[in-house]
């Protein structure tokens, strides 16, 4: 079978499966049978976490830069897209609905605002990335954290987007929708999760991806080989931010966005997902996102206060993984999606990134090189 037919079939299977799951998750259910709404909530959250984790992995896992403010970009995506649906798109949607029907109109508008959310987050990524990515990794970490906090403080101070109250809809003196429409269902989340995985996978397995991994492995050497490290770092950062924006837009049209949902605790949660799953493994990130979404809910049912200690358990796990296995649960390994690969990359692409020990994040014990880098940055 030609590859493209195979991929088309694959895409169809995914879309059909998502449709069936989505129907089962709806209020009516699929043929009257449905998934309990509590689990629906968790699955939606899991899907959004997958997008966040996989996109963060591009910058943290593959490029070796350390961002701990991912949630800031998510907030940008959530608020910018919700701002549009509340204050701008209602009229257009009504006009479209008259021609195409309400559902199609909503889908068009939602796609549009998600893209705007992604663009806004990408722009924010560019603004943060350009000054800070020139610097050493740990400065980036603090700068991203600081940026995410600044975003949150801005949100809290802007009345038109609900300020500290959370954004529910149009705020009094300004006309608009009174509630943010709940466009997001599992279909949307699922499709964008798949898109995120496919796009990041293809980036990682392209020339750009090679450049990114070379930066992670040894930035000096990469520069020496003619890689424009700053440009590649900024590119990766912007793409990563854009997907966080998508996740935010999806979240914003499901739960009403509230500044308390975008604190740095949430950023750390995403980091735990990718570290648990393995820095530099896309499937690992997916797995990490699922575990971190469902595990606490499982612990909730265990008596004896285990649930209260779940965050302690995560933190201890994080330290233990770093000490014993700094490359994470799956290391850099991938599994089970060779079929997604671009055909022309087959020869070198079969070993997914990080296979055969290519990804060892660390184990560099070269204080001299470290020093040199420090001097340079100073």
């Amino acid at each position: 079978m030609p590859t493209f037919v195979k991929r088309l079939l694959g895409a169809l299977v995914i879309v059909f499966a998502l449709w069936a799951i989505n129907a089962a998750m709806s209020k009516e259910g699929l043929f009257g049978v449905g998934i309990p709404l509590y689990q629906v909530d968790l699955w939606k959250m899991a899907g959004i976490n997958v997008i966040l984790a996989v996109s963060l992995n591009l910058i943290n896992g593959f490029t070796g830069q350390f961002s701990i403010g991912h949630v800031g970009f998510m907030a940008v995506g959530a608020y910018s897209s919700a701002y549009l649906t509340v204050y701008a798109t209602q009229g257009i949607e009504q006009q479209l609905a008259a021609v195409l029907g309400a559902q199609v109109a909503a889908a068009i508008i939602f796609t549009f605002v998600i893209l705007v959310g992604a663009l806004a987050a990408a722009l924010a990524g560019l603004i943060v990335g350009i000054p800070t990515l020139r610097l050493r990794g740990d400065y980036l970490a603090i700068a991203t954290l600081g940026f995410a906090e600044i975003i949150r403080i801005l949100i809290v101070n802007v009345n038109k987007i609900g300020a500290a109250t959370g954004f529910r809809g149009a705020v009094e003196p300004w006309p608009g929708r009174t509630t943010i429409p709940a466009y997001t269902d599992f279909m949307w989340i699922g499709i964008f999760a798949v898109i995120t995985i496919v796009v990041i996978y293809n980036i990682v397995n392209s020339d750009t991806g090679r450049a990114l991994v070379s930066i992670r492995e040894d930035e000096l050497a990469a520069t020496a080989m003619g890689v424009n490290t700053t440009r590649y770092k900024v590119t990766a950062f912007v793409i990563s931010a854009a997907f966080a924006g998508v996740a935010g837009a999806l979240y914003g049209h499901w739960r009403l966005p509230h500044p308390a949902d975008f604190t740095f605790t949430r950023s750390f949660e995403i980091i735990i997902m990718i570290v648990l799953g393995g820095m530099g493994s896309i499937t690992g990130s997916v797995l990490g996102a699922l575990v971190i979404t469902f595990l606490p809910e499982l612990l909730r049912n265990i008596p004896g206060g285990v649930y209260d200690y779940r965050l302690v358990i995560y933190a201890a796990l994080l330290i233990l993984i770093m000490i014993t296995r700094p490359q994470g649960m799956l290391g850099g390994r991938e599994f089970g999606f060779n079929w997604l690969k671009r055909p022309q990359k087959r020869s070198e692409g079969d070993e997914a990134v990080g296979g055969a020990g290519g990804v060892q994040i660390a184990e560099r014990d070269d204080p001299v090189a470290d020093k040199k880098q420090d001097k340079e940055n100073r």
Partner: protein, 304 residues
């Protein structure tokens, strides 16, 4: 005028606390090139240690002796905690990349915060007031309170002590040697592990002092109190030039004053007082853009 002087006093007071914490960041960074994310939580541990010591001793009312015991006791406790963190979390990952150590540091920070939340609850608790607090009027409306004087006095004393340890003692010389070049120091017969542990102990003790002093001034402690304060102190260290001790103090005071001035006079320039927490981070991004080495980063070579 008196309002301005008052705001200056308020700002320097907050800044002194930042400075005490920033010293720990800057010392550890000078030696290990590690951002000790957990340092802000050491400040929290110090405050809690003080709380339990004071309650354990049944101290409820003001007493200078009690305050001294609580201060020293919490400094010792925090020093031990800092040493344990260094020994069991940071030393095993020291050989790995920066990223691994940074994640470990975040892990330690999360561990302490969540352990305290799970154990003691996330709500604030009142710290026993060991000082009969009162305001002394300076001129006009300007006043300074006893707890503010205490903060200034103790932090200046501790900074002088630190300066003495680093420049006048053998262990201080060793610290400077290790920060200059760890491997060479090892070759010169310096027990680098011991020196690193000592640095953590020193920095942690200063943070604990900051914790107890803050608790006398604003008597609420909670397990998450170290996050924002710690981050701002880190920004102070970067502002002053990370690795540079006078820089950390200068950075701390500057950030404290800048924050308070935004609260006091920001409204005149269209900046709401609630942007206060954004000030430190905005300063950070500006410093990174304009002068990544910090204010005193290049001029002073001696670093620990």
């Amino acid at each position: 005028m008196d309002t301005f002087v008052q705001q200056l006093i308020n700002g320097l007071n907050v800044g002194a606390i930042y400075a005490l914490i920033a010293l720990g960041y800057t010392m550890v960074y000078g030696i290990l090139r590690l951002i000790n994310f957990a340092h802000g939580d050491i400040y929290m541990v110090g405050a809690f240690a003080g709380f339990f010591i004071a309650n354990g001793m049944g101290l409820a009312g003001p007493s200078w002796g009690g305050l001294l015991v609580v201060l020293v006791g919490s400094m010792i406790t925090a020093a031990l905690v800092g040493m344990a963190i260094e020994r069991f979390a940071y030393r095993p990952v020291r050989k790995y990349s920066r990223m691994t150590t940074l994640i470990t540091a975040i892990g330690v920070s999360l561990l302490m915060e969540n352990l305290f939340v799970a154990r003691f609850g996330g709500q604030g608790r009142g710290f026993p007031q060991l000082l009969q607090d009162r305001a002394y009027h300076l001129f006009g409306n300007a006043a300074i309170s006893k707890s503010q004087i205490l903060i200034f006095a103790v932090s200046i004393a501790l900074m002088v002590l630190l300066q003495w340890i680093i420049f006048r003692t053998k262990v201080g010389t060793a610290m400077r040697a290790v920060s200059f070049n760890l491997n060479s120091a090892k070759l010169m017969g310096i027990n680098t592990n011991a020196i690193i542990t000592f640095t953590f102990a020193l920095g942690s003790a200063l943070a604990a002092a900051a914790g107890v002093l803050t608790a006398q001034y604003s008597p609420t402690i909670d397990p998450l109190m170290g996050i924002t304060t710690g981050l701002k102190a880190f920004v102070a260290a970067v502002l002053g030039g990370i690795g540079n001790i006078p820089g950390a103090v200068l950075g701390g005071l500057l950030i404290g004053v800048a924050e308070t001035m935004v609260v006091g006079y920001g409204a005149n320039f269209g900046i709401a007082s609630t942007y206060r927490d954004a000030v430190a981070f905005a300063i950070l991004i500006l410093v990174l853009l304009l002068r990544p080495s910090g204010l005193l980063g290049t001029t002073v070579q001696e670093k620990v």
